[in-house]
Each structure stands twice: as C-alpha cells, then as structure tokens.
C-alpha cells in the first residue's frame, strides 16, 4: 500500500514551482515507510513536482473543473483512488479542510485534522482548544485520512525523479461552483502558510500608521501581515489578518510582534512559531516573556531602523 499527498492548486508556489507546504507534507508522508504519490489538480505544474525527493509518482488530474476545485469534485476523485492507498494526507490547507472530511464520510472512516506529530501508524498528536492543549488521538486501523501542520515537518529536497501519470477525473458534480476568487493580501504570502509573519497591535494607533510602519518590514521580509483582535476591532487591519484563537493560528519560522501586549487569545495562535520577536515599549507586556528576542523600544523608531538594517531580501 502507499501514501497519497494532495497538492492544493495555486498555493503560492516558489520559484521551484512547488509550494513549501507540499514539500513539508511529503516529508510527513514518509512516516509510514511506504511509497508516496502526489495528486496535482487542474493546471498545476506536474513536472515541477516530479523533483520532490521521495515521491514515486505524480498523479495529474487536469480537468477544467479542477482548476478551482470544489470539495464535491475532489472528494469524488479521491474516493475513486482511495482503494489503492493506506494513507491520504495533505497540509492543512483550505482545500484539504474542505474536501477530506467529505471523503472520510464517504469512506465511513474518521479523519485527523492538523496533526502536529505522527506517533505511530494510527496514532497522532494534534492541538485542541486553539493549541492550549495537545491531544494524543488514535484512529481506527484502515484508511488513514489526515491533514498535518506543515511547518512541523522539514521540506523534502528537490533532487527526486518521479514519473507523471495522467488520471481521469469524474465529471463535475455541478451543484456547487466557484464563480470568483478574490485575493485579500495582494502579493503577500498567505497568513497561515507564510514563512515570516509581521503582526501589529492596537498601539500602532491608526490604520494609516499600521500600514506605514509594518508594510515596509513585511515587504523586506516577504512576510504575511497579521494583526491582533484588538487591532482588527479598532479597524486598523482587515478581519482576515487576525491571528489567534478566533482568527488564524500561525506557525511560521519567524513571527515578529510589533506593539502587541500578548493576550492569551493571541498568543495561543502563535506559540508554535519557531522564532518569536517582540518589539514593545512596555517591558512587562506578557508577549515579552514568550518572545525569543524581546526588544524594548519605541516601535515607531525601532521598526524603520530594523528595515534599514535588514538585508535587501531574505
């Protein structure tokens, strides 16, 4: 038996044509020690994905209705493939969150959402209560369906040589149809998947200052922009930038908290970041205890200075 990894179309591929989370999901997929296949949908560059180390085959389902796929069609496609696989997994992306539970119910099996550690063939660790607790969960033997928190896994190398195999997808279900897709962040990476996140709190003072202070830093670092609930409620940042228990839980390589005090609601959503930097005027703010590097400074002076001292692009 083998393991199938689903690749989300258009998940901001890097220069290699392969999204970072896909390489991380492939690393997670090696846990079962069986051959790993990839499934790419729509117009995704299948050839680029053949270079991911440890991949046997890239299954390419290139049908027009899979370019902006709906859960109904992805679940139907996977249902047709599932007999050949012992494990079907994906990074915890929008598409996987939408389609894999539907697949699991069609197969009458349970599903694991956002595993952060793979402990045995059917045993996993996953965050509950927005990461305030960790649960060790055992699934029933048989087909394993799961999403993983990609940032917990190293990126697979790009020196592989998989083969591409075209597969035929079932016809579109048609009852649900994507009519448009609007991007909120422009050129910025997606908040939940970004390597670097720059977030601001209410002490930025206004929407104008939020943008003027944080955008140059985010540009410099190729970072996603985030905000606290307080900053969102104050109208400094759009709701979809909210980081925390009622927003997006993030786990980037580098999280820079600017003018953020560190309410539990917010810190629950950033704890899994590899490196946390806090810049705050208040040395007693709770975030300063959580941060790996705390800088006590006026944010309006320190952030522009940081932009000046950083290399041109990272």
């Amino acid at each position: 038996m083998s393991t199938l990894v689903i690749v989300e179309p258009g998940s901001h591929p890097s220069a290699s044509g392969v999204a970072r989370v896909t390489r991380q999901a492939v690393t997670a997929a090696q846990h079962w020690g069986q051959p790993v296949d990839l499934l790419v949908l729509g117009h995704t560059d299948a050839a680029a994905h053949t270079h991911i180390a440890g991949v046997r085959r890239v299954l390419r389902a290139d049908a027009p209705h899979l370019a902006q796929p709906v859960a109904e069609d992805v679940a139907a496609l996977l249902d047709g493939l599932a007999d050949d696989y012992a494990v079907i997994l994906s990074a915890h992306t929008s598409l996987a969150r939408n389609a894999l539970p539907r697949l699991a119910a069609r197969r009458d099996v349970g599903m694991l959402s956002e595993a952060v550690a793979l402990l045995g063939p059917t045993t996993y660790q996953r965050p509950i209560y927005a990461g305030n607790l960790l649960a060790t969960v055992e699934n029933t033997p048989g087909l394993q369906i799961l999403t993983v928190r990609a940032s917990r896994f190293a990126e697979a190398a790009l020196d592989g040589q998989a083969e591409v195999q075209a597969i035929v997808a079932p016809a579109a279900d048609g009852r649900a149809r994507v009519t448009a897709r609007q991007s909120a962040g422009g050129e910025r990476p997606e908040l939940g998947l970004a390597r670097v996140v720059v977030s601001g709190g209410r002490s930025l003072g206004s929407a104008g200052q939020f943008n003027a202070v944080l955008s140059p830093l985010a540009d410099q670092l190729g970072a996603a922009l985030g905000a606290t609930r307080a900053a969102v409620d104050a109208g400094y940042a759009p709701n979809e930038w909210q980081v925390g228990q009622t927003g997006t839980v993030v786990a980037p390589e580098l999280y820079i908290a600017v003018g953020i005090s560190g309410a539990i609601q917010h810190t629950a959503g950033i704890k899994d970041s590899r490196v946390i930097v806090a810049i705050n005027q208040d040395p007693d703010a709770p975030i300063m205890q959580l941060a790996d590097y705390a800088l006590v400074a006026d944010i309006f002076e320190a952030v522009p200075e940081l932009v000046r001292q950083l290399p041109a692009k990272v």
Binding site: S113, N139, Q309
Partner: protein
C-alpha cells in the same frame, strides 16, 4: 424552507482549560459552558432568514447530556422555532465528528429540511469536519467557512473564507453550510425571551433507536499542556536583534 441548525455546547472561550489529573481528558468539571461561537453565527443567519420570510422554521439540534437543554433554550430565546435534544447513549458520551454527522443526517431526513447550518468548527476540538461529513452522508453540496450568504430561489450565492482571500460560490439547495465568524454579528438573548423559552418544549430524539453504527473512529488517549517555550532574551538594540536573527536563530540571511 426548513432550516436545521446544529449547535455544540462547549467550554466557554474565556475559560483557561487544563488536562484532567490523569491526563485522559480535558478537565470539564465546573467549567462554564456556552454555545460554540461559530454555531451562534449559524443560528443568527438562520433566524435572519426566517425574519426575512425565506425560512419557515428554524430547528435547532444538539447532542449531549442534559446540560445541552440550557443551550437549546438559549437558542429558542434567540429565535429558533423548535429545539431537538439527542441524548447520547451510554458509552457514546464523546461522539466523534462522523458519529455526530450520522445522527444529524437522521434528523435532517426526518424533518425534510433543505438547508443545514453549522459552525465551521467547534472551539474545543477544532476539527472542522462535521458539516462536510454531513454533506457527504446526505449527498448534498456544501460550503464551509461561509462569510456572506444570499438565497435566490433554489440557489445560494455565497462567499467563503479561504487562504489569502475569499471564494465566491453558487450552490444548489438542498445544501449544508458552515459559518465563519464574519458571516454576521449574533444578537444577545433578551431576558423576557429567555424566560419564555424556559416554558417551551424540547423534543427528544432517540439516538439509540436510529440503529446507527456510531462507535467512535477516533479515541483520545492522552491530553496534555504543550511544553512551555524556553525563555528568551532581551536584546538592547535593533543591531543586536538583527545579529541574533542572522547568526543565532538563522532565520534571515
């Protein structure tokens, strides 16, 4: 059009949760419970559809111990027209998402509802699966994390939250939707409505009689607090911060 809204009673989001002393579960004794916040958005949307004359009935359903009756009465006070309580059989006090989806399917089919609204996830288990599983079991189309909804005849025009933006969809009824926080701002229950709701009937649903295989597929073996982050350091200047990020943490070039 009949709408079914599924609500889950969860530990209130202001409560700091901790593992039970034997680490087998989450310590729930004495914790304040409330309706899952995302389910409140689902309920609010259904009530608004009723107020606009689009929905004829809003039936709220919850599975759990007798405590869920309080949440159901609150939902009645918020505008639901009927409430159904499914008391869980012994040994199934902690149903997984697939079991709940199977129970919901029975209610949806018995009521001949044409729209089901749920929260996009429950803030206790954070699985975010039940709506999609129910849609699969009913073989209905679905939309998750819905942030805007309009109904035109048999067609739903909606927006859903996806990474990096929003997706616009058209979905045929009957359908299952899960609500994002952005969908609406739920109202608060008024005291007279809460008093009135105390006298309204709650209809029982016999979970065991449905004869379903509900044995949980997932079992929680252990619950623990995450390891605290190792304490960091205070840097004295931007230059020192950049130096540490480059050479110690190695997160910038």
């Amino acid at each position: 059009m009949k709408i079914i809204v599924s609500i889950k009673r969860v530990v209130d989001h202001n409560v700091q949760v901790r593992p039970s002393s034997d680490h087998s579960a989450v310590e729930l004794a004495g914790a304040r419970m409330s309706i899952n916040p995302f389910d409140e958005n689902a309920l609010e949307e259904a009530v608004r559809l009723k107020e606009r004359g689009i929905a004829s009935e809003v039936i709220v359903v919850s599975f759990g111990d007798s405590g869920v009756q309080e949440s159901l009465r609150q939902a009645l006070a918020l505008g639901a027209t009927r409430a159904i309580w499914g008391q869980l059989p012994a040994g199934l006090e902690q149903p997984d998402q697939l079991a709940v989806a199977k129970l919901l399917r029975e209610v949806v089919q018995a009521e001949q509802a044409s729209l089901v609204l749920l929260g996009k996830q429950a803030i206790d288990e954070d699985a975010g699966q039940t709506a999609q599983m129910l849609a699969a079991l009913l073989d209905w189309p679905q939309a998750t994390a819905v942030s805007a909804l309009e109904i035109e005849g048999e067609k739903l025009k909606l927006q859903r939250e996806v990474e990096g933006g929003t997706e616009s969809l058209e979905v045929q009824l009957p359908a299952v939707l899960s609500a994002d926080l952005r969908l609406n701002a739920p109202r608060f229950a008024k005291l007279p409505d809460l008093m009135k709701a105390k006298r309204l009937p709650i209809e029982p649903f016999d979970c065991a009689a449905a004869g379903l295989a509900l044995g949980p597929r997932l079992r929680t073996l252990r619950v623990e607090s995450p390891a605290p982050r190792a304490g960091g350091i205070v840097v004295s200047s931007v230059a020192e911060l950049v130096e540490k990020l480059r050479h110690e943490a190695q997160v910038i070039a």
